[in-house]
Amino acid sequence: MKLLRHFVSGWSGLLEAAGAIYFLFADVVYSIFRYRLRWELFLDQIIRIGMRSQGVVLITGAFTGAVFAAQTQFRFGKFGMSSATGPVVAISMLRELGPVLCALMISGRVGSAMAAELSTMRVTEQIDALRALAVDPTQYLIVPRFLGLLVSMPFLVALTSGTGILLGYLVSTLLLGVDPTFYWDNTVKFTGAKDIWMGEIKALFFAAIIVLISCHRGLRCRLSAEGVGIAATEAMVFSSITVLISNFFFSFLMNLILAS
């Protein structure tokens, strides 16, 4: 009975959060079309989210691509399938590893910071002060973050995938002796525009997930120092898990759409 109660309350909590995030999304979309964009805040978010995350995603992409190329070549080389290493690395980086790893790093670096910032503002009554000054918190705080990450994320994903492919190429050709022309020729031959599109569409989708979940946790935090910490942790954990789960379904859906 106790187990059932826990199960029911867990699911109802999840549904409640999903509903609240949906309404937050609707509010953000309404605010985007209804009010003027605050360019200063939007550009500030692009700098904070996009430009300052470049180092993190660059390292993530580079070493993921390098180790992935090395492991692929170790196995494929044994069966004389070195020709497949380049395309496998490129397609994996563009379609899956680039967007997902980039999203995970951004949810850790940016999502938790967003939640901590908003929850601190809530605890110190700054959000109430905004409302008292007749300023809509969604328009002032959420929209610039939402659009900032939406614009930045495709570039960050491109950076992650690009450096992964580049370092995979360098490891395979310089360290593992694969012929550079052969490697590159096969990579270009088996990689298409739809692989790039798939990664970039995922980037937009993951950006929305990270901002909405992180802002939701920040705005709904408990009014204590502990609440701020919990909000930051939950933002990172929930957005990462949602990215991973949704990626599975998204990949299936995108394959169906792009295959047709």
Binding site: T120, E125, Q126, D128, A132, L133
Partner: protein, 249 residues
Amino acid sequence: MVLRLVEVTKTLGTQQVLEGVNLEVAPKERLCVVGRSGAGKSVLLRLILGLIKPDSGEIWYGETNLVPLRDRELAPLRREMGMVFQNGALFDFMNVEDNVAFALRERRRPESEIREKVSRILERLFLKGHEKKMPAELSGGMRKRVALARAIISRPKLIFYDEPTAGLDPIGSTEITDLIRCLNEEFGATTIVVTHDMRSVEQIAQQVAFLHAGRIYHAGCAEEFLSSEDPVVKAFVHGLIEEPTVGAG
């Protein structure tokens, strides 16, 4: 009446904080809402500003009932109000100047006008020379004065102060109460101060509303309240602790 509360109730968690509050505030009046800690004074201000919704009752601002209005519908009315939060609630990512200028920038006033008004108000509130400081670098009293400047810069018709003297030394406290009184006389804005500090009540109030057991227990002029012989009011005003019942415990 500029503001009228009719049978307002509010429950927070399991506790019924307000159990049918009725209150009327006349234009340009200085009203102090007093009561013990946890009596629901700050909740009352938040209800009037629409930051939280009552469980039942009506809150009339002029001819408009604020209760059914949503945040976006409340925005034009909130532009006529100013609020000084207990801890200032200054935007910690902005310096003093930008905090004070915030309301005017939101209303897209010309930058020259904003600079002139900010400079004037900072001088008036003894904050000249602190324009570029961040909120974290300010003392408690300065933070309150910045919050005050931010609330009054757009000349609201109705100003709320939530415990304006809490946490201040006696001199800082007198400075703030003097400012509240002077600003009310200067700008003619209706002023509602939530406090449990009797010195502030003496210095500021024209009218007093005493919140007790979820209701307005006493409402009247300040002198009448301070000299009241009602045992509950008297106990609050003079800080008397009720004698324990014989044989209790």
